[in-house]
Amino acid sequence: MALAKRSFDVVVVGAGGAGLRAALQLSEAGLKVAVLSKVFPTRSHTVAAQGGIGAALGNMGEDSWLWHMYDTVKGSDWLGDQDTIEFMCREAPKAVYELEHFGMPFDRNENGTVYQRPFGGHSQNFGERPVQRSCCAADRTGHAMLHTLYQRNVRARTQFFVEWMALDLVRDASGQVLGVTALEMETGELMILHARATLFATGGAGRIFASSTNAFICTGDGLGMAARAGIPLEDMEFWQFHPTGVAGAGILITEGVRGEGGYLLNKSGERFMERYAPNLKDLASRDVVSRAMATEIKEGRGAGPHSDYLLLKLDHLGPEVIDKRLPGIREISIKFANTDPVKDPIPVVPTAHYMMGGIPANYLGEVIAPEFSNGSGNLEKVVPGFYAAGECACASVHGANRLGTNSLTDLLVFGKSAADSVIKFLAENPGRKDLPKDAAERTQSRLTRLDSQKNGESVAEVGAEIRRAMQTHCGVFRFPDMLAAGVKRIRELADRATRTEIRDKSRVFNTARIEALELDNLIEVARASMVSAEARKESRGAHDRADHQDRDDANWLKHTLWYKDGDRLDYKPVHMKPLTARSIEPKVRTY
């Protein structure tokens, strides 16, 4: 079947923070860019980020990008690549100033500079005391940032393909990426977008968990596409559970609440974080706080009739501070927890929030697929024409645990650097390679299979089973027998996912078809996560194993690579050498 085809210099998939920052850079460079998004750009999940953007501006007191770098390396439990981390922390202030110049409505200090609030794991002088580093717009920083970036793209006349879902990568025999196949949701039409460079900014995949702060659209589409095209996924065992999701609803309550002075209580009113992190207390890093909370609940000190949540107290901040700095939190709490935080504490539980792993990339946003592994061969081999930035990428800046605010910093810094790399690549490679004959074959067979499936599996049911399996087998605390059983269960589900059936066959805005295609991506992410977690026999950052309670640098200071083909695993070393700074040697991590 002949397919419609369009050609561009660059195809950007995803229009959240990273995609929009990249698109802006590319449009302003005069390139012919197509930005694909499943949703109108301002509906991307960046919109839900609340607390702020981490950058050592030093507006509230002394700060340094070296301290930010140290905090990020320590936060990552030494799994983060130090070259990438240095690059991000060094570029962060510039990225924030630039966003301000674009019109971002940051909160301000009396002297007119950008207001910064304290955040978990961010410290002065290499861990000494909390620092105010999070640049924010009340508790709507993501919303303000996403809209500002979209607005700037309107000014730059960026071309958007709104409500188009990318389905598969197009690679030629040499492995070069030449664009994507995509579905226009309104018409149901399939198209090949032929590109000289392809940049993924497809976001996270928190929807593999039953209890998640993530939006419905966070289904790991970029990861699924990469995995199906033979590209490995890195460090997928590392999932961040945010300490404060609204109990029962999963809606995010920003760490900024604790940054502004709120704290957690157990059922007897004890400020329990003092026991787990005597120095930074409630502002310890997220993996530490989530584990402490899960321990409190496990040991019967949870609040509520079933002792299954904890309490986030902030009424002592007073209504003025709450309404000025945390108005969105008050709104969410009233709506989703029936609690006005001006008077009563918010019931919260650790909730799946962020994927530290993703498509392997370097600090330039180039996608990496090692040629050989286990110490020999080209471990930094670039996939020509393919770039990734933001949550879908594993650069790896967050390692085994991301610090709050570093996700937005990541989007800005690596969205831009990936776009700069694309610009350089296109200048050095002026031609356009032809599409292979079978460019759309994988996509077409997926669609044909889906449309003709009889007696198949329900998309909703298989999806719910995946979420239950991940939640039960791969949560905050992990156990060897549960992980092994989880691998078996997720493989069974992967098999069922190949037989999904939809009853709706309409061409027009068929959301049943979209959800089925999203499930193809979810299952790859879930498999990668479970298999990688089962294999890692240590506890590091967000990965906590009952049978190996300690971090094991001798054997496990390395990145996991999962390949879809046969669930194969491989490993590559962590970049311990920064670009210019001194290497931060692993040590015991306490807060």
Partner: protein, 231 residues
């Protein structure tokens, strides 16, 4: 719980109909969107947009028992049965609860929704006092859900010529920004019998805004500025 939902699929070439659904809810289902997700489990052909499920992305705006709102922050307990759901009024329907929002976004884009400042930016941030920044509160929080514009009779009559409450709220967001230098140009652009002056302060926009914003007040401020500069 009982629902009566607008259905239309142009691919089937049928006329629009209202379809009844009876759904058994889970005790955890609080919001209208939770119920719609249940319905979609029974009938995968029901089409709607949704994403963040917490009222910040603006995807799931619809007409709920006659009033525009977001399904994800509308409490089921507060709805009268059968809950009647229709697509946002005044825009072409693509399918079921999904409308074509092109006209809405075209109006938003028409106000040049970006900061205009031709000065070379400083090395660090542009300074802005807390009071200047406060002038943007109640404006920048708009989520572009279109509840307001599609509740506005003036927008229904002239969607191609009247900017509508959402676009005008954003126009004022930039006029009010101490860093923006194009207030004059922005006012010129709106000084037109349709673009701004079709607003007759009916205030449906204020009534339906899920973020409790007040486009009518912003429109009033724009009008004030126009009067001020003409005297």
């Amino acid at each position: 719980m009982r629902f009566r939902i607008f259905r239309y699929d142009p691919d089937k070439n049928d006329k629009p109909t209202m379809q009844d659904y009876d759904v058994r809810l889970d005790p955890h289902d609080r919001m209208l969107l939770d119920a719609l997700v249940r319905i979609k489990e029974q009938d995968d052909s029901l089409s709607l947009r949704r994403s963040c499920r917490e009222g910040v992305c603006g995807s799931d705006a619809m007409n709920i028992n006659g009033k525009n709102g977001l399904a994800c922050i509308t409490k089921l307990a507060e709805l009268k049965e059968p809950v009647e759901l229709r697509p946002l009024p005044g825009l072409p329907v693509i399918r079921d609860l999904i409308v074509d929002m092109s006209q809405f976004f075209k109006q938003y884009h028409s106000i040049k929704p970006y900061l205009m400042n031709d000065d070379l930016p400083p090395e660090k941030e542009r300074l802005q006092s807390p009071e200047e920044r406060e002038a943007l509160d109640g404006l920048y929080e708009c989520i572009l859900c279109a509840c307001c514009s599609t509740a506005c009779p003036s927008f229904w009559w002239n969607p191609d010529k009247f900017v509508g409450p959402a676009g005008l709220l954003q126009a004022y967001r930039f006029i009010a920004d101490s860093r923006d230098q194009a207030a004059g140009e922005r006012l010129d652009d709106l000084e037109d019998p349709y673009r701004l002056f079709r607003c007759h302060s009916i205030m449906n926009c204020v009534d339906v805004c899920p973020k409790n914003l007040n486009p009518t007040r912003a429109i009033g401020k724009i009008k004030e500025l126009m009067v001020k500069r003409s005297v």
